[in-house]
Symmetry: D2
Subunit: 384 residues, 4 copies
C-alpha cells in the first residue's frame, strides 16, 4: 500500500521522484472560495528552495503550476492538482554508485522492499528530500485556510549542530525567522559559523526545528487515537531525516516532578485558559486554545564527502563510499518549511473534523487576507 | 469524528469510560487460525495492572471476556470483541471536583470541546488511563501474531524521574524487565528509591519507556507519509501522558555530525545489513531487518496531593486543587505495557500492508508457539 | 482486512456471530448532546424482530444495552458501545449439516476464504441475517440525528414475490407502513396471500424495498467517487441477500429517451428545485434538496424445505440438502428496517462530511424531538 | 471532503475538469515490477474515446503521459501519476447558458453545494463525463495487474434504449464486443438503428452495461460492510449517469421463488463450485471462484436539442433550455470502458486486501503477458 496520501478530510496525495519528469500534489478537500494562485505557492516554496547560502546549489527554481480546482482565481472545492517539472537534473553520478547503497539514506530499505531491479536510484528517487516540494505546496494552501481561523504557523531552528538558538516568543519573532538564511530567530553569525565549520570538515550537522501554531482554537484533536499530538507526531515524523518529536516541554517533562509539570489554569478575558506552555497547548491530546508548540529533531545530512562503509549489493563486497554532489551541510534549514507545512496540513484536517472549518465553502474576508499577507511581508529581499 | 479506531488492515476500535459500565476493544482484521483465549489477554493485562507496588491501589482485577471472533479456540477472521466490566468504581469524589478542571488532565479540553454539560467527569471519563486496558488487549493479539513472524516486542523504563536505567541489549534482557516491578532491566533499588521519595513528597515523577521489536523483518513501512517511524510516532504519542517520541538515537542525532550519525552497511550471513542502531532499524522510514528501537517520554502523574491553580468552570473564580485518590507516583511504569501494545499493533498492521502477514489465514506452528510462550515465562510470580 | 466498519466521520463498527455469546455495535463519531436511551434502540429493533407473523419464530427479544458514550441520558461524543446478548440459541442442527454448505448461503464462500476448520458454521456465523441487529441499532442513532436536520427515513416493501405494492407518496404513508406486518403501504391481504402460498409450498419469495429520506437537504454527497448514490449503493448492497440497487427511476431509465428522463427545474418558495423524482433527488450524485428515493432488491430466503444440490466438503460427494429450522418465507420483510438503517447511517455520515451536521455537539430541541417522536407513534400495537 | 480517492490498498485519486488545463490520476499502491508504458493506457482510452461513430465528435485524442512511478519500463511501487492535457476545448457556449442549470446535469447540485460563484460551469466542470478518462487510465493498470491473477475483465452493452442485446457467454465474446462500435456482442445493425433514430429525433437513449470478470479467484470481498458486491456497487454507481446496479440475476431474483433462485453446488475438478451464475459468482458477498457478473443501468444523455424546463439562477425566472454542442446519443456506449475500469480497480483492491495479490512486488511472467495481450488483439482496426 502506497502511503502517499495524508489526512482524513483535507487529503494530500503526493507523487514524483527526484529525477523523474515532474512531481506534484493533489489536494482534495479544500473548500470552495479560497483565493489561490501560483504566487501563493511560490511564496512558501521559495523559503524551502535550495540555492540560498548553505543549502544545495541545485537550482530547483520551482515553478508550480495549478492544473485543476481553481477557477477565476478561487478554489472550487474540486481537487487541486499542482505540478512542478523537474529541471537541472543530472543523474550520471547515481549510475556510478547505484550498486552501493549510501549509508544513512533510504537506498538499502528500498532495495530490500521493492527489489534492486525496481529501484529508482537516481537522486534518492521517491525518498529524496525533493519530495517535500509537494508538502510545501499543500502546506501553503493549508496555511492560507488557517488564516481564516486566525492561526499563523511559523517555524524556526532552535538547535543547530548541538548549539541552541532561541524559541520564538511571539508571532513576530516567528515571522522574523523567515528573513534569516538559517531560519533562526536570533544568532545568524553563530549559525553561519557552525555551517562554515561543517563545510570545512566536509561534514554536516543535525538540528531541531520548533513550529508554533499561534492562537490556535480549542477543540482540535480527537480522543484516544487521533489526538492532535498523535497526528502531529505522525505528520512531522514522516518528514525525511526526522528522528524525534515532542510537544511542549517534551522529553524535559520526563525528568520533572508532577508539581512542576502542570500548566496552571487561570481566567483570561472571562475564559479559563492555560498559563504556560509546558503541555504544548494541548490537554488529553486536544487543543485548549492558544499556541501549539512542537519540536522535531533532524539527523545530519547523510551525503557528505567523509566516507562510510557500505556493501556492493551484487558482489556483497564491503567498500567505502563518499557522496559528493550538491548537498546541504544541514538539512534542518530546509526542514523548517516542511515542518510548518505538515503542521498546517494537520491543523486544517482537524479543524474540519471538529466542525471548526467548513469543508465545503469558505468566506474569505479582510481579516483572513490580513493574516495571510503577513507571510509575504516576511520574505528575504533576495527572494521576494 | 471519533478517532477511536487505529490501523488500516489490522483495525483496533476501542470504547468505554473509566467509571462507565464496561470498556472494550473490537479487533477487526485478525486472520483466521490464531489460537486465542482469555488467558492470552490476561497475561498482558496483568503486567499493566494497578495493584502492584507503586501503582494505584484501585483493584481492577480485569477479567477480559471474548465475545466474538473465536470459535473452538481459534480466531475465525471475524471481528474479535473483548469486554472488561468495570468494578470497584467509586465516583463520589469526582462529584466534588467536577467544576474545577484538574491541571495537567484532559478535563478542560473536554469541557471546551464537548461542553461542560456533556462531559463525563467521573475518573477522567474516556481520557482516563484506564482506557489503555483496551489497547493492551489488542496488543496481546498483535504480539501473538508477531510471534509467527519471529518478532518479540519488549519494553522497559530507561529513565525514571531523571535517572537513567539501562536499555535492553538483547531479547532476554527485554523479557527480564517484565519481572521487575519497575519494569527496568536493572536497578530495582534505585527505581524504588525514586518512587519512595516521590510518594514521601506527595509528588510524582515522569520517565521514558524504550520499546524494542526484536528481529523485525525488512520492508515494514511505506514511502512518504506512512513511514514506519511516522506510524509508530502516532501510535505511541496517542498514549495518555506521552509527550515525546524518538527512533534510534533520536534527539541525540541533532547534536551529532553526519560522519558520526550513519550506521555502517555490512554483510552478515550473505546479506547487507546495518551495523548499529543509530537509525532505530529503519532507513527512509522503512525497516531494514533487525531490531526496531523507539522511545517515548511520559510526563509525571498529574493527580497529586500538591495543589495547583485552577478555575471554577461556572464562577470563573480561581482556586487551588489537589487530587487525592488512588494514583500512581509514576504512570510510566504502567505505560510500558501500553507502549509495547501500540508498537505491536502498528507492526502487525504494516506487516499486513506489506504482504508479510497474510490478512486472511495464519498457520500457527511450533515456532510461533515457542516465541509466544516466552512472554508467559517472564511473569512476576506474584501475578502469574 | 475485516471490513466491519462503515463510514468516514460517523463510523459504525459491528461484531458478533449468530450463535456466539453476543453481538453489538460501536458507533464512533456521534456528536455530544443527543438524548439517547435503550428504549430508542428498541423502538427500531422491534420492527425488525422476528416473532411477528411470517418471520422466523426464533425469539430474539433483543435487549440492547448501552455500555459507553452516554452520560446522564445524553451522548458525550465518545464511542457508543451497544451489546445484545444472544439467547434462545440452538446449534445442534448445524452440527449435522456443517459438512454440506447450504446453497444460496455464504457457507461455501467462508469455507473457501477462511478454511473449513476456521468456519463458525452455527447459524451462518457472521454471515447470518442476525448480524443486522447491529445495523438497526446504529441506524436508530442515525435516524435520531437526522431528526435534527428535519429528515425522516421510512421504508416499505414495493414488490413481494413479483407482485407490486405502492410506493409511499408522503412521509405519513411511509410511517404507516410501520404498522403493517408486511411493511407495505397498502395491501396487507395481498401480501399475506403471497406468503401463505410460499409457506404452503415450503418455498420462499423475494422482494424489493423502497426507502425514502423525506425532505433531505441539498449538498449531500461528494463529486466523483463518494457520490451519495454510490455510498448509498454500497450501504444497501452490503445487506445480506441484497442483489440489486437503484436510485429514482433506476433501471427504468435505461429504456427511456433523454427527453423523458430529465426532472424539470422549477422555482418553489423562491428556490430552484426539481419537479419530479426521476433522479431520486440527486444530480451528479449530490442531493439537490427534497426526497431521496432508492430501492433494493432482495433474493428469496435460501433456507427452505425444498432440497437443492450441494457437495460434502470432505468427501466431495454430491447430495441434496433441505434446511428446516426457523426461517422467514421472505427476508425482505425484515430487510426494511435494515435498509432504513443503512440509508440513515449514510446520510448522517455525508451530512457531517458536508458540514451540515456538527460532528462534535448537537443542539437537541423541540423540533428534533417532534420528528423523532413520529417514529414511536407508528408502532404496531402488539409491539409498542 | 473531496471524495476523489477510491480504494483501500490500491488507491486511485483523480483530478481535473472538463475544460481545465489537464486532468489526471494518481495510482498509489501499484506493486513494483509491472511493465507499464503509455501505450498500455492508450489501448484502453481508445475504446472510450469519442470520435467514433455515434459518440461525441469532440476530438479528445488523449495522450496520457506517465510522470512518475515507472522506471526503465516497470513500475517501482511509487505512486504513478498520469496526466492528459485538455485540447480542443471551446467554452464559449457555456458562458451563454451558465445561469440556467441544465436539467439532468449536475449543474444545480454544484450550484447549491459550492455556490454559484465558485462553480466551474465550463463543460460540466468536474462533473463532466470527461472525468472518466482518469478512471480508464487507472483501470488499465488494474486490468494489467489482474492478468497476473488469470482474470480478464470485459464489458458489453446488454440493453440499448429498451432493446436487449446478448450477454457474453465466454471471454471471447466479451473481447469481441470491443470490436463493435456499439460495444455489443452481437447486433450492430440493431444498435445502429436505435441510435440513428435517437439522433433523428434529436433525442438520446439509455442502456445497460454488463461487466464480467472471467475466472475470478475465490475469497474476494470481506464480511459485512466491505462485501465485494457492495464495493462493486459503489464503484459502478459512482460513474456519471449510473442509476442502477445488480449482481447476477439481480432484480429478477426479487420475483423468483427460493427454490428457483439458488445456484447448485457441484464438484468440478475436485473442488466444490457453483453451477450457474444466479448469484453473480458471490455468496455472502464473497467470490466463490468463477465469473463475477454485474450490470449497471445508465440514463439517457441529458444534453439534447429537445428543450426542457429550467430556472435562471439569478432571476429565478423559468425558461426552456436545449443543449446543442457535441454529445453522444447514448453515453452507455462510452460507459462500457468506464464500468470495466471500475470493476477492475475494485477487484485489484480486494485481491490485495485478501492477500491474493502482493502489494509490494509482482512477478510478471509469460502467462500474465499472454492474458494482457488479448486486450490488444481485440481493438477495432480503425483505432489500433
Amino acid at each position: 500500500m502506497g502511503g502517499n496520501t495524508f489526512g482524513t478530510l483535507f487529503k494530500v496525495t503526493t507523487w514524483g521522484e527526484s529525477h523523474g519528469r515532474a512531481l506534484g500534489a493533489v489536494i482534495d478537500g479544500c473548500p470552495a472560495g479560497l483565493p489561490l494562485d501560483e504566487e501563493d505557492l511560490k511564496v512558501e516554496l521559495v523559503l524551502r528552495r535550495p540555492g540560498r547560502r548553505y543549502t544545495t546549489p541545485r537550482k530547483e527554481g520551482d515553478e508550480p503550476q495549478i492544473l485543476s480546482g481553481v477557477f477565476r482565481g478561487k478554489t472550487t472545492g474540486m481537487p487541486i492538482s499542482v505540478i512542478v517539472w523537474n529541471k537541472d537534473v543530472v543523474s550520471d553520478y547515481y549510475e556510478l554508485i547505484k550498486e552501493t547503497p549510501r549509508p544513512g539514506h533510504a537506498d538499502l530499505a528500498y532495495i530490500k522492499k521493492y527489489g534492486y531491479e525496481h529501484w529508482d536510484y537516481r537522486g534518492g528517487g521517491r525518498a529524496s528530500g525533493r519530495e517535500t516540494v509537494s508538502r510545501v505546496i499543500a502546506g501553503a494552501i493549508a496555511k492560507k485556510l488557517l488564516s481564516c481561523l486566525g492561526v499563523l504557523v511559523t517555524g524556526n531552528v532552535v538547535n543547530l549542530g548541538g548549539e541552541e538558538f532561541p524559541s520564538a516568543k511571539d508571532p513576530q519573532e516567528g515571522l522574523k525567522a523567515r528573513l534569516s538564511p538559517f531560519r533562526v530567530v536570533n544568532g545568524d553569525e553563530g549559525a553561519e559559523e557552525i555551517l562554515r565549520n561543517a563545510l570545512k570538515n566536509k561534514d554536516s550537522v543535525g538540528g531541531i526545528v520548533e513550529v508554533v501554531a499561534w492562537n490556535a482554537p480549542s477543540g482540535l484533536g480527537e480522543p484516544v487515537f487521533d489526538k492532535l499530538k498523535a497526528d502531529l507526531a505522525k505528520a512531522l515524523m514522516s518528514i525525511p531525516a526526522a528522528v524525534g518529536f515532542e510537544v511542549g516541554y517534551g522529553f524535559k517533562l520526563a525528568s520533572m516532578r508532577g508539581s512542576e509539570a502542570r500548566d496552571k489554569i487561570v481566567t483570561e478575558v472571562g475564559e479559563p485558559v492555560l498559563e504556560g506552555e509546558k503541555a504544548g497547548g494541548m490537554l488529553g491530546g486536544i487543543s485548549v486554545g492558544g499556541n501549539i508548540r512542537v519540536r522535531v529533531a533532524f539527523k545530519p545530512t547523510s551525503s557528505i564527502m567523509i566516507p562510510e562503509k557500505t556493501v556492493n549489493i551484487k558482489t556483497l563486497e564491503e567498500s567505502d563510499i563518499r557522496v559528493p554532489g550538491r548537498h546541504d551541510p544541514a538539512i534542518v534549514l530546509r526542514a523548517v518549511s516542511v515542518a510548518e507545512a505538515m503542521t498546517a496540513i494537520t491543523l486544517v484536517d482537524h479543524a474540519m473534523r471538529s466542525g471548526l472549518l467548513n469543508p465545503v465553502r469558505i468566506e474569505w474576508n479582510e481579516s483572513c487576507e490580513r493574516l495571510w499577507r503577513l507571510y509575504r511581508e516576511y520574505l528575504p529581499t533576495s527572494l521576494s
